[in-house]
């Protein structure tokens, strides 16, 4: 399944913040976690994660530090700040509102999602 670009971009902030609120992490591990959580349905281009992390850092939602990883290389770790947690709570409220709205509509549309097979529309007045 392909998720469109706008949706990916909009959801990147809450997803990254939420993953960092579990534990401090670094780029590669964050992407692994996204794959795991979405069951492979959300495929980010790896490099695109970094500008997102840098933006969150600039806004003060996360703090970064360089540390030596277990393999002996230097690695940049990110940690969520109090600001970031507040932002995450705010994002969560907004996404829940969107989610609730959509759920309401889905329920109203009694038809189940046809799995890519669109039934031929009935002729009017038939």
């Amino acid at each position: 399944m392909e998720i469109n670009k706008d949706l990916m971009a909009a959801s990147s902030t809450p997803i990254v913040l939420a993953i960092l609120s579990e534990t401090d992490s670094y780029g590669y591990a964050i992407l692994q976690r996204v794959r795991e959580l979405s069951g492979g349905r959300m495929e980010w281009t790896d490099g695109m994660l970094y500008p997102v992390l840098h933006r969150l850092e600039r806004l003060g939602h996360v703090k970064a530090r360089w540390a030596v990883a277990e393999n002996g290389r230097k690695r940049k770790y990110y940690r969520i700040t109090a600001d970031g947690r507040a932002q995450l709570a705010e994002e969560r409220r907004q996404w829940q509102a969107v989610d609730a709205t959509l759920r309401g509509i889905w329920r109203g549309l009694s038809l189940a999602i046809p799995d890519r097979q669109v039934a031929a529309p009935l002729p009017r007045g038939a």
Partner: protein, 459 residues
């Protein structure tokens, strides 16, 4: 699995990949290091899953994303790294060469227009000698519309915005000329000084275009203003040397060229140079890009030492300040200087780096300037209540209070940043949001002062 040969070729490939990344202006070496760490882990994991080193490298690079798209994404986030290029990814070289030639021609066209405009009133009998007052008031109105025109052309501003920009200038022309003052009266000089400050906001809107509403767009405009000032001073120095050679050489053959220098070369050159300098700031960015920040680094410690020593001397010797008419203006200039040092330090600073000793020095600089200014204000407060509000004193006091508010809150935000309570962006936003206040105050001086102080003659 991985043989020594494999490992060597992997290192070569990573080196090559790294060198490609480094060529992108928007991706700095610390980012490259971060991406490289990612790439290596990806390669290692794919290798563990059974891929050969070569295959693993190819897959890892592919997953990292296309270089162009990646560099565009970095450029969007780190616009400060290529702040002059509104288009983050440079166009093809052939295309961009033609574009830059067109731009140079446009810049010189607008510069010539400004120079010619300055001499047009002479056709109607408004010469420099006879109508001093006319030129004092309208000086900025010959130059800034051309500058705005240049940016409007360059950014292809839409019709509605163009109308608003034009309306601002029409308003400026009206307010600059409806009143008649005694020549060289205080109100007239104040008007001439404040009109360009008020109109600089209009230049900013034309310069930043859509990005005027964003912190980054305004920050770019602040950077641009500083670099423009430096370029202008350099051009003025060159112009001075050129003019003196011109006069010296003609004197050797018995011709005095002074009339030409005074009436043509200097005024027209000064007008045109504003547009040429603006164009240079954008076109030759890499040459001078770091000039304002370097000067800031150089002079921040000096000014800090000066202010701290001054305050210490004031306290230790118990001397009072000599109050004269220029003191308040002097302190205004001091605060402007400090504000410039703070602004250019901020504009060049990577918002993500942690607080350092230079930041502490900035806070000391701001706080000591504020203390000195408040001592001066209390000293002059008594004087004003004694002699009343002259136009000069009111204008100087108003500007002083505006600067005081700005710097006080900057100091508060800076201290919070040093303590780790606020991100640096809050400080940036405060400064960019405050920009219009200066222009609004200048507009008040231009519009309201002649009405209030119109009849007063001396300041």
């Amino acid at each position: 699995m991985a043989t020594p040969h494999d490992a060597a070729s992997l290192e070569d490939q990573i080196e090559l990949w790294r060198s490609y990344l480094r060529r992108r202006q928007a991706i700095q070496s610390v980012d490259v290091a971060e991406l490289e760490d990612h790439l290596r882990e990806q390669v290692a994991n794919l290798g563990a899953a059974g891929l050969s080193t070569d295959e693993a490298f190819l897959v890892a690079v592919k997953r990292m994303g296309e270089l162009d798209a990646l560099s565009r994404e970095f450029a969007r986030e780190h616009s400060d790294r290529l702040w002059k290029q509104f288009v983050a990814v440079p166009a093809d070289s052939g295309d961009s060469q033609a574009a830059s030639r067109r731009e140079a021609m446009a810049a010189f066209g607008f510069a010539t227009a400004a120079a010619v405009a300055l001499k047009v009133p002479a056709l109607f009998g408004y010469g420099f000698e006879t109508n001093d007052s006319f030129f004092v008031r309208n000086a900025s109105l010959f130059v800034l519309p051309m500058l705005v025109g240049f940016f409007a052309w360059k950014r292809t501003v839409d019709g509605a915005t163009l109308g608003k920009l034009a309306a601002a200038f029409v308003g400026a022309i009206v307010f600059a000329n409806i009143h008649s003052f005694a020549p060289k009266s205080a109100v007239e000089v104040l008007l001439a000084m404040h009109l360009p400050i008020a109109l600089w906001l209009v230049v900013g809107v034309a310069y930043a275009g859509e990005r005027w509403r964003q912190t980054e767009g305004r920050m770019d405009f602040i950077r641009f203003s500083g670099e423009l000032f430096i370029y202008y001073v350099l051009i003025a120095l060159g112009g001075g040397v050129f003019t003196s050679f011109l006069m010296m050489m003609f004197r050797t053959i018995g011709i005095t060229a002074e009339w030409f220098a005074v009436n043509w070369l200097v005024p027209c050159g000064a007008a045109g140079a504003v547009i040429v300098a603006s164009w240079l700031v954008e076109a030759k960015q890499s040459v001078i890009e770091n000039m304002a920040p370097v000067l800031t680094r150089l002079f921040t410690p000096l000014f800090t030492v000066l202010l701290v020593t001054y305050l210490a001397t004031l306290v230790l010797t118990g001397r009072g300040m000599n109050i004269d008419r220029n003191m308040l203006i002097g302190f205004d200039l001091l605060l402007v200087m400090v504000l410039c040092l703070v602004l250019y330090a901020i504009s060049a600073r990577d918002p993500r780096s942690a607080p350092g000793s230079f930041d502490v020095m900035q806070v000391v600089l701001v706080v000591s300037a504020l203390v000195a200014d408040m001592v001066a204000l209390t000293a002059i407060g008594a004087r004003i209540s004694e002699f009343g509000f002259s136009p000069n004193r009111t204008a100087a006091l108003g500007m002083n209070l505006i600067l005081l508010v700005n710097l006080t809150w900057s100091a508060v935000l800076y201290v919070r940043f040093l303590r780790g309570q606020k991100s640096f962006t809050a400080l940036e936003r405060w400064h960019t949001d405050y920009l219009p206040v200066f222009s609004v105050w200048a507009a008040i001086v231009v519009i309201v002062f002649p009405l209030v102080f119109g009849r007063a003659t001396a300041g």
